[in-house]
Amino acid sequence: MKKANVAINKDLCKKCAICVHFCPKEVFTIDQDGYPLISRLDKCTGCRLCFLRCPDFALEVETELDD
């Protein structure tokens, strides 16, 4: 079951790839334009490290999901 939702706002993202490289579960890949792509959401534990490390307020993690 999905533990969290991750959303990226491309208007704010500066393609630094910090979220991609430091996600402990390798949830992200990089799309052809260099933006992070949420590829393995099922692996996400909702640890929020990507949210905390994003320098540009471009990434949100929602962990309290309604079933």
């Binding site: 500066k14 393609k15 490290l49 994003c54 962990t63």
Partner: protein
Amino acid sequence: MPSDDYKQYVAMDRLPSIWCPGCGNGVALKALALAFAELEMPPDKTLLANGIGCSGRVGDYVRCHRFHGTHGRTLAFVTGIKLVRPEIKAVCLLGDGDCSAIGMSHFVHSARRNVDIVTIVINNYNYGMTGGQFSPLSPYNVITSTSRSGKAEPDIDICKLADLAGANYVFRTTIYHVVEMKNYIKEALGKKGFSLVEIVSPCPTYYARYNKIGNIIKQLEWLKDKFIPIEEYNQMKDAEKENFFWRGRLTNRDLPDLYQHTRRSRG
């Protein structure tokens, strides 16, 4: 539960920021906003005062009282604010250049007076805004735009200096260590008197490029590997210590702050 509460302290409509991709300033801003939100600090009783520099632009993106001091002098202005409005919780966010070069005397005396201010120093080891010149905190021998063959001057440990001068609370962390950063900013906000939180931060555009540290990922890995807990660091032999920096809490005490001293002297 990730709440959106932190957003009430962030001027989201002014984003994206002016900072380069990967710059640590935005990470520190978020940690600060999260700490404000967790402590439910009223924006009308909260001040973020900035120095001048890339880090000084943090103030452009907050929603609480905000104030730009002249370069190096922010702590002096905020000392005045705290004496007339002691109920305001004041955070001064300064660059390493702002705080340790032109502002060094204000920094030492603010710590000595134990003014009730949380000072956050974003230490990116150089003057970002003006093109990557070295600051007194840039480590010995590093390459900057004013030390092309290695910085010839020794650096100073701003944490030890604040401790010696009389600060009540001193903590050093890095932009990599995001959870501890937020928690210790919170702890500092709960203290009376002078607190210093030094955050070692990447400047991908100048410092990291000149010193060939690699991309922002390598820079964060460098912070992760090089900054070890103070307890571990203290156990090391001197030769070993040269390859590392410590992070953690150096000081935590409850000496009277400047306001208490002035009340007492007035009787």
